[in-house]
């Protein structure tokens, strides 16, 4: 009898179940960049003048930098300001959401600034227009000459809030600035903001320089220089300008890179046609040999946890990429594709390795998982190499050279960036020709 009751109760349950909530799976969407309105920042009328800065235009200029940053990501579509429907000061208090929705914006950035007592105070708000609510709001105080960095920091905060990943706008890129004819190239170290402004030259161009790399705090740079025709790895303090040779090697050292904690430099040392990978501790100056093989081992790059090193070697005949523990044990080949692989660079996220590949006279920039699987070639060209990661592991910067005539005419080298999805390829603005870029980590961290 009890069973019968149970059966009936079960029956009712099943019948009710069949009237459950309607579920619809949404597996597709609009892949267009998110439309975002960036209102010019309102300049407080109480603002005082400050040497060398046009205060009245500051609000407009900051919003322009934010706009450029967002356009360069390929993920956002900053809307034209002519269509804006509300004055910056009123919009910053409380936007009329329905009016902004009319111009198809989904997010809105508003802000205001005040220059007083030689201090710049900037505040901004990010609004979700569909939900009619504020998503984030922050204020900064700094010296007025720092206004470009404020614009980049605001961009980072908005980017982080809208994408869930860290931004990469308040960063710098160090590169080799090139000028002159191809056979007499003058190469200097140069540093610029990620958007191409504030270029500064760190060396005079008397000697050839190559492969500059930042340390994790962005204050030191290691690079290779042909000073007095002795190709060596050098260390440069950006703020003081002091330089020194790294280690006391009886031969050529090259391809340097910092370890993730900044305490070591890993590099190649070549002697008698053989090159191996070495590390040097910057505090104790102790040099350690990591690989010992008769082949050419070079281009070492640490994993972000410091436990592994990726490098390229021709020990199997053709140049391929290998991964080993940071003490040199457990060497494992990870590339087996057709062609030559080089310049492996571990992503700051740790999940991918970027590389250059040469096959049938073409150069490719690509990424793969750290075990060598899932190889994806992002871009193909006549000559391109030296990928470097943005600090959030989303964008790669590299350089590309054009084909030139027998006398070197028509030759140029430019910096380019591309998304790890293979989309959004862009040329980076530089004052001169440029090669060997290296992206810093976030400056404001």
């Amino acid at each position: 009898m009890k069973k019968l009751i149970l059966i009936f109760l079960l029956n009712i349950f099943i019948i009710n179940k069949s009237l459950a909530l309607i579920e619809i799976d949404i597996t597709r969407g609009n892949l267009d960049p998110l439309p975002i309105a960036i209102s010019p920042l309102h300049v407080d009328i109480k603002s005082e003048s400050y040497d060398g800065i046009k205060i009245k235009e500051l609000g407009e200029n900051i919003s322009k930098i934010i706009e450029n940053n967002f356009r360069s990501t390929g993920l956002f579509n900053p809307l034209k300001k002519e269509a804006f429907v509300q004055k910056p000061d009123i919009a910053h208090l409380k936007p009329r959401f329905e009016d902004w929705r009319l111009i198809k914006a989904q997010a809105l950035v508003t802000g205001k600034l005040l220059v007083k007592d030689d201090k710049l105070k900037v505040e901004f708000r990010l609004w979700d227009l569909a939900a009619a609510k504020e998503m984030t709001a922050l204020a900064f105080t700094t010296t007025p000459s720092n206004w470009r960095r404020v614009a980049h920091i605001i961009s980072d905060k908005i980017y982080e809030r809208l994408t869930g990943e860290e931004g990469y706008f308040d960063t710098r890129i160090i590169y080799v600035a090139e000028s002159g004819p191809k056979n007499q190239r003058v190469k200097k170290l140069a540093i610029m903001d990620q958007d191409g402004s504030n270029t500064k030259y760190l060396t005079l161009g008397n000697e050839l320089v190559l492969t500059p790399r930042f340390n994790p705090t962005n204050q030191m740079v290691t690079y290779m220089s042909y000073f007095r025709n002795m190709p060596r790895v050098y260390l440069l303090d950006i703020e003081t300008g002091t330089q020194e040779v790294v280690g006391n090697f009886p031969g050529m050292t090259f391809a340097p890179r910092f370890s993730p904690d900044g305490k070591k430099i890993v590099m190649s040392f070549a002697k008698d046609g053989n090159s191996d990978i070495y590390t040097m501790d910057l505090d104790s100056r102790v040099v350690e040999r990591i690989t010992d093989h008769s082949s050419i081992d070079t281009s070492p790059s640490f994993s972000p946890d410091g436990k592994f090193i990726a490098f390229n070697s021709d020990r199997s005949g053709l140049q391929q990429i290998y991964v080993m523990r940071s003490d040199g044990s457990g060497v494992k080949r990870i590339t087996f594709g057709n062609g030559i692989y080089g310049t492996p660079v571990w992503s700051p996220r740790g999940d991918l390795i970027a590389f250059t590949k040469m096959r049938k006279g073409k150069f490719y920039i690509g990424v793969m998982r750290v075990d060598g699987s899932g190889e994806r070639l992002l871009t193909e060209n006549f000559y391109q190499e030296a990928p470097s990661w943005s600090p959030n592991g989303r964008v790669l910067v590299f350089y590309r050279e054009t084909k030139s005539g027998s006398q070197g005419e028509g030759f140029s080298a430019k910096l380019w960036s591309i998304d790890i999805t293979g989309y959004n390829e862009r040329r980076l603005r530089t004052e001169t020709d440029a090669s060997d870029p290296s992206w810093s980590s976030l400056l404001s961290k």
Partner: protein, 268 residues
């Protein structure tokens, strides 16, 4: 003896009670089912996953030509002009329209049976081909909108019989939300990112209440991507208002659950 009688009476009365309670539920489904099936048979040929149907295009062009001719001869009534091209008029509405037209065109009363139908009225007569064409046209527009990613998963076509929406009704809703949803492109593809939103709807398809089912996950540390996705899904729903809900069966769809899952798209 008496004890067993009491048992018998109690259990029988429970049985009767349960039957009374459960029967209405059981009855409801079969009554609703036949029309659902019949509509579906028309729709399957015009599935949204096909970007456009050449046959339907011909029909659409023909109807367009007809419309152009009509405009040159006589202006259609205002009510007609406002009507959306992708909406199928309800039987009631059609009748009303007919009457209005009749008054305008024929000031002298002619008996309906012998009256010759004017060209305009001919168009109003229900023609399944044309309805199919109109639906097709709407789907074409949607298909064009989403030409970038043209995958419909099999899994997304589940249990429409059980839920009470026809495939085409579900497709219309889905296609509408596809268009409104700006997928956050920076999301990692290898994480479990599924956002479930429960909606309470008004009869006109506007949203009474929207609720994220795992909303406690939104504010947990390390769940930034989930939060971004959830917010984008909420934006999509709000921007899509009013939703393209079926004209009937409000009880069935007054509460909906939308499962936003970008994994497939981000992988591709």
């Amino acid at each position: 003896m008496i004890r067993s009688l009491i048992y018998s009476i109690t259990f029988h009365s429970i049985l009767v009670l349960l039957t009374i309670l459960s029967l209405p539920f059981m009855l409801r489904e079969p009554i609703d089912l036949p029309p659902i099936v019949s509509v579906e048979l028309i729709q399957i040929s015009d599935k949204t996953s096909i970007p456009y149907a050449p046959k339907a295009r011909k029909i659409i062009e023909e109807t367009k030509k007809k419309e152009e001719r009509l405009v040159s001869e006589q202006a259609p009534p205002a009510a007609k002009a406002k009507e959306k091209p992708d909406r199928i008029p309800l039987p009631n509405e059609k009748k009303e329209e007919k009457q209005i037209i009749k008054k305008k065109q024929n000031p002298e009363e002619i008996k309906p049976q012998i009256r010759q139908a004017s060209e305009f009225e001919k168009k109003e007569i229900v023609d399944t081909n044309q309805i199919a064409a109109l639906i097709d046209k709407a789907k074409e527009e949607e298909a064009v909108k989403q030409k970038k990613s043209d995958k419909v998963t099999q899994s997304s076509k589940k249990n429409s019989f059980a839920t009470g929406l026809t495939l085409s009704q579900e497709d219309a809703l889905r296609a509408q939300i596809f268009g409104c949803w700006s997928v956050p492109l920076g999301l990692p593809y290898d994480e479990d990112l599924l956002v479930r939103i429960k909606l309470k709807l008004k009869k006109d398809g506007t949203i009474l209440k929207s609720e994220i089912l795992d909303h406690q996950r939104m504010n947990k540390p390390g769940q930034k991507f989930y939060k971004v996705l959830a917010e984008s899904a909420l934006r999509a729903v709000r921007l899509c208002q009013p939703l393209k809900v079926p004209p009937t069966g409000y009880d069935k769809w007054k509460e909906l659950q939308l499962n936003f899952n970008p994994t497939e798209m981000l992988k591709g």
